[in-house]
Every structure is written in C-alpha cells, then in structure tokens.
C-alpha cells in the first residue's frame, strides 16, 4: 500500500514543483519505488523540472479518459529506475480531472508503488483540491512572507475539511511545513518573517527549511531535481527533509546566517 503525499501551498511560485521533483527523487534514490504526478493540467511543468519533457507521449487526462493505460503514460526516470513521472495534460483544462478518475489511478499505482507524490497546482480549483483529496501526508510549502503564510493557512483548512480522510472520518492528513526561499540575513535585518514567526502562525511540524539558492534555478534550467546537486545548500536541505520524513533525526540547518570570514566581511562577497 502506497503512502500518498500532496505538495501544496495555495500561492504560486513558492516551490511546489521544485519540492515535488526533489522529494520524489530523494525517496526513489533511497530505494523506494516512487511515482510523481503533475496535477497542473493546462500548465504542466514537472516534466521540464524532471528533464523528461521530450519523452511525454500520454498524460494523466489520457489515462482518466481510457485513451492510454497507466503503464503507457508513466515515464521512467533515466537517472533512477525507482522513479516514475506521470505528466499533466498541456491542452485540456482542469475540468478534465474527475474524482473517480484520479481515485482509480491512485488505487492502481498504490498496488506496486511505495510513495506517490502529487504536485498540486496553485490556487484552490479542481486540480489543487483533487491533488490533496486522497492524500495521507501534506507537505505545505511556504515562503516566509505574509501572502504565502496566509494562503498556506487557507490550504490547511481545506485539507482538514475536504479530503477523503476528513469525509470518511478517518485519521486526519499529516501536515508538514516546508519553509522555502529562506534568507537568514534578511530575517536578521527584519525584512523577512522568521521560522519561529511562521511556525507560531501555522503551528505545523517543521520538516525543513530550504534556503534561497541559485542552485534551484540552475537545476530547473537543466531539468535536474535540485536534490541531485549534492554540493548545493538547497540540495542538502531536501536530502535532510527526505531523511526526516522517513523518520531519521537530523538537526535543522540553514536557519542561521552563515558565519563569514574576515575577508568576505571586508569585501562583502556574494
């Protein structure tokens, strides 16, 4: 039986797709058979971030409409054989998704996958609500910024009331906070909400802090999940997050400002 993870945020541009790609790759690299599904019908991007955009033949909507089988639509990652990508349709609109259709796909995937990562689109329309409907765990990606925090709280409300678990009166979805695009120096200057601020407002279990990093854009440009860039701070942050999710204890990093040497202090490197 698979564990279904939804990566959600409400607000756009906070790093949902980056996160979905990174954690799916992280879980697969550790030997767990993982599928990652793009729910952003009409605006698909996971294929680009995963670097498989040229290999897309069939998509999520094709499978729902029985125009292709699940196996035809799943793309096996070239770097990790435990990872499969199910792309979104680029031409249909979000109404092409149905609860029954998505439920059937997730049920079928559950048979031989360990983890299913659902990359939610921004907003609270059908794609977003369906991505979270069947979830067991929710990764709430939030930027340390007022509109993102507010939207995340809105998503928490939807998670607790409009999911399958809520409707069936089962144990609620486990919610985790992933604070992304974090700049400790800007927090210090009082320009950015701190980890504590955000945690106090959302009162969520913090799974990890992902620092603002050039490596994220570089990774996107090259179609490589940033977790594969093991030298980068963001890559390490995601590796920590995967480890913590799997139950390992890792102290939180990237919350404090990096200590600068005398030279960089004088000349202001970076």
């Amino acid at each position: 039986m698979a564990r279904i993870i939804v990566v959600t945020s409400g607000k756009g541009g906070v790093g949902k797709t980056t996160t979905s790609a990174a954690i799916a790759m992280g879980l697969a690299k550790r030997g767990h058979k993982t599928a990652v599904i793009d729910f952003d019908v009409g605006l698909r991007n996971l294929d680009l971030i995963m670097g498989c955009e040229r290999r897309v033949v069939y998509d999520l909507v094709n499978v729902i409409n029985n125009e292709a089988t699940l196996n035809q639509a799943l793309i096996r990652d070239k770097r990790c054989d435990q990872l499969f990508i199910l792309p979104a349709s680029q031409t249909r609109d979000k109404d092409a998704l149905t609860t029954e259709g998505v439920g059937k796909i997730l049920e079928e995937l559950s048979k031989d996958f360990k983890y299913i990562v659902c990359d939610s689109p921004a907003g609270i329309e059908r794609g977003a609500t369906l991505a979270m409907y069947f979830a067991d765990d929710a990764f709430v990606v939030t930027n340390p910024e007022v509109s993102s925090v507010r939207d995340s709280d809105r998503m928490l409300g939807i998670l607790s009331s409009k999911s399958r678990r809520a409707e069936n009166g089962e144990e609620p979805i486990k919610e985790y906070l992933l604070l992304s695009r974090y700049s400790p120096d800007r927090v210090k200057l009082g320009e950015m909400l701190s980890v504590d601020d955000v945690q106090e407002i959302l009162s969520l279990h913090l799974l990890g802090v992902i620092p603002e990093s050039k490596s994220v854009l570089n990774a996107s440009n090259s179609g490589t999940p940033v977790i594969l860039d093991e030298q980068s701070d963001a890559g390490q942050a995601y590796a920590d997050i995967v480890a913590r999710y799997l139950g390992e204890t890792k102290p939180h990093r990237f919350i404090e400002e990096e200590k600068k040497g005398l030279l960089s202090k004088l000349f202001g490197s970076k």
Binding site: V146, V149, R150, D153, R154, G157, V187, L189, G190, E191, M192, L193, S194, D197, V198, E200, I201, L202, K265, G268
Partner: protein, 83 residues
C-alpha cells in the same frame, strides 16, 4: 555588512508584522467553519431592526461558535441611547 550598518539604530523587526498576520489568520480560521448564510442573516436582521430603531451598519454582531457537538449562534444588537 558595511560600517554604516553599525550606526543604523532603527532595525525593523518582523515581530509586529507576525502578530498582525496571526490575528488575521485566526480571524479567517474562525469564519471558515461558519455557515455560509451568516452574512445574509445579518443583513436581513439589520433590515428588520431598522424598521423600528435607527441603528448603524455595525449595530449587529453575529457570532457562530462550535464546541464539540454544540453549535451556538450568538446575536448581539446594540441599541442607540434614548434621548
């Protein structure tokens, strides 16, 4: 960090911003579980009361609270002082 920074005393803090955001979010959380007819109910009640007493737009507060299985609808109508 430049030397100038050491003399800049008015460091802004996000604590107050966070406090404000927390109040907003708490308010939205509370109204999330309310039945959707509440604003309309409030408007209609206001119209009825205005037939008899001249009250302002904010004379009525409608509060909905949920405590376990018990739901409470609390109406508070402030009448103007008699002159």
């Amino acid at each position: 960090m430049s030397l100038l920074d050491y003399f800049r005393s008015s460091k802004t803090n996000t604590a107050s911003l966070a406090k404000e955001l927390q109040i907003l979010v708490a308010h939205e959380r509370a109204s999330r579980n309310q039945p959707s007819y509440l604003p309309e109910l409030q408007q209609e009640l206001l119209a009825v009361i205005r037939k008899y007493v001249n009250v302002g737009q904010d004379a009525i507060t409608v509060n909905f609270e949920q405590d376990g299985n018990q739901e409470t609808l609390e109406l508070n109508i402030v009448l103007p002082d008699e002159r």
